[in-house]
């Protein structure tokens, strides 16, 4: 009985849906987190009576045929890269991106990774690093005797050093953009990696055409919307229940057959 396996695909799909939703809810307070959505598509169809096959010698054709689908599959779990809200943290190394783009950081392996979570710190040598200690690219070193650090909209980092009148520019933040940022690979710790699907990173200073601007003292919160997630969770749960009901019904039909004497 195909109904059993069809319902099983339905239950598996809803299970995955719940997994995705619970991950979104768990990351509601994660800096720079982008919510995800599971996309489902129907599986292949089996032709039991082909559309357009001849129904008589006179050349009349079957207009609709009998086509049975065999269930559902998960086509993709994709990130929705909508801008999250900005919260004021007053921390001078907290930097939010307004608009398109990612900060580039260097992993210990030497590879590049990208992030929108701009909660940076300083390393013992004064380098700007992420919460995990990975250096922000291009490297920016803040002098030890700097009394204040200013980062403007286009990512220019300047410091005020005691005794000097003019602020001194010590670095320039860069943003990376991609053709398909939904194709970036999540590697945890708020980091993403380039893949063949995402296309190559294009680097430029914040505020160039097509790039977002940066905002010092703010952090981008997650773009998870609690109401939406909860309603979708209810939907997924009910759908799961209904698919399990299909299994019970199909089972009952089989039992009816097997108890025929």
């Amino acid at each position: 009985m195909r109904s059993l396996s069809i319902a099983a695909t339905g239950m598996l799909a809803q299970q995955l849906n719940v997994d995705v939703l619970s991950n979104n809810i768990a990351n509601m307070a994660t800096t720079g987190y982008k919510r995800q959505r599971a996309e489902f598509q129907d599986l292949l169809y089996q032709d039991l009576n082909r559309v357009g096959s001849q129904s008589s010698d006179a050349g009349t054709v079957v207009p609709a045929g009998v086509q049975l689908g065999v269930g559902v599959r998960t086509a993709a779990v994709y990130r929705i890269n909508e801008q999250g809200n900005l919260t004021d943290t007053k921390n001078r190394f907290d930097i939010a991106i307004q608009g398109n783009g990612y900060f580039r950081v260097q992993l210990p392996s030497g590879e590049d990774a990208y992030t929108r979570a701009g909660s940076f710190q300083l390393s013992p040598t004064g380098q700007m690093v992420t919460q995990n200690g990975y250096t922000v690219q291009p490297g920016i070193t803040i002098p030890q005797d700097a009394v204040s650090v200013d980062i403007n909209e286009s990512g220019e980092v300047s410091v005020k050093i005691d005794g000097q009148v003019d602020p001194q520019i010590v670095g320039q933040l860069e943003l990376a953009i991609f053709f398909n940022d939904a194709g970036l690979e999540l590697v945890g710790d708020n980091l993403l990696k380039e893949t063949p699907a995402s296309g190559a990173a294009a680097l430029s200073v914040p505020g160039s055409p097509g790039y977002g601007t940066v905002l010092q003292g703010f952090l981008e919160t997650s773009n998870v919307n609690a109401v939406q997630e909860i309603t979708m969770l209810i939907q997924a749960q009910r759908a799961y229940e209904m698919n399990s009901k299909v299994i019970t019904t199909a089972d009952e039909m089989l039992r009816t057959t097997s108890t025929l004497r």
Partner: protein, 240 residues
Amino acid sequence: MTENTAYIALSQQMALRREMELIANNLANMNTTAYRSKRMVFEEVLSEIGADQQVSFVQDAYVVPSLDEGTQQRTDARLDMAISGPGFFVVQGEDGPRYTRNGHFRADADGRLVTDTGLPVLDDAGAPISVGTNPQDILIRADGTVSDRNGPIGRLSLVEFDNEYSLTPVGNSLFRTDDVAQPADDARVTQGFIEGSNVKPVLEMTHMTEVLRAYQTTAQLIESDKEIRLRAIRTLGASA
């Protein structure tokens, strides 16, 4: 003559099992983007069993999709779009155009607008649309015009068909047909939304119960038929 009872009952049970599979598939696709629920249409098959006598068997004749629109769900993704009114997006399949109402698109590594499975979405001139490096800037107007900050890029091809039932589903929310596509003037595109499945769970659940009961009733019929024959043999056998 009574031999037919079991066969007629069998034809119904076969049909009901098919219908059950269809319901299972509808419910499995309750959350599938732009899925259209399907219904079975049965037909009578007449069989002559003697002079002036006919019995009718049942056969599953057609699967008909419901053409209702699914509810639009908000996703806020820039490259998600839903069509209201009749109409389909045109994508380039391996051997000819494919049609879909599933407007979950993305940009591929070359900046072309593609479906989840990587098929290019076509504009009204039949060419792929390039959305460039910055999908976040893309604006899609109701008539399908795609533009970015520098102005219009192109217009999505939106088509409709005289007979929508001629569209054959090929999985992955795509349809195929040999019919000629016509521009869909009434189709309206909304950005940031996608069309949900048009499966009505309540309807499917009640229908499922109906199918189950019909199946059980038929099984009962087979039992009664057997009972009648058994009794006939006993009674007639005893009197002889």
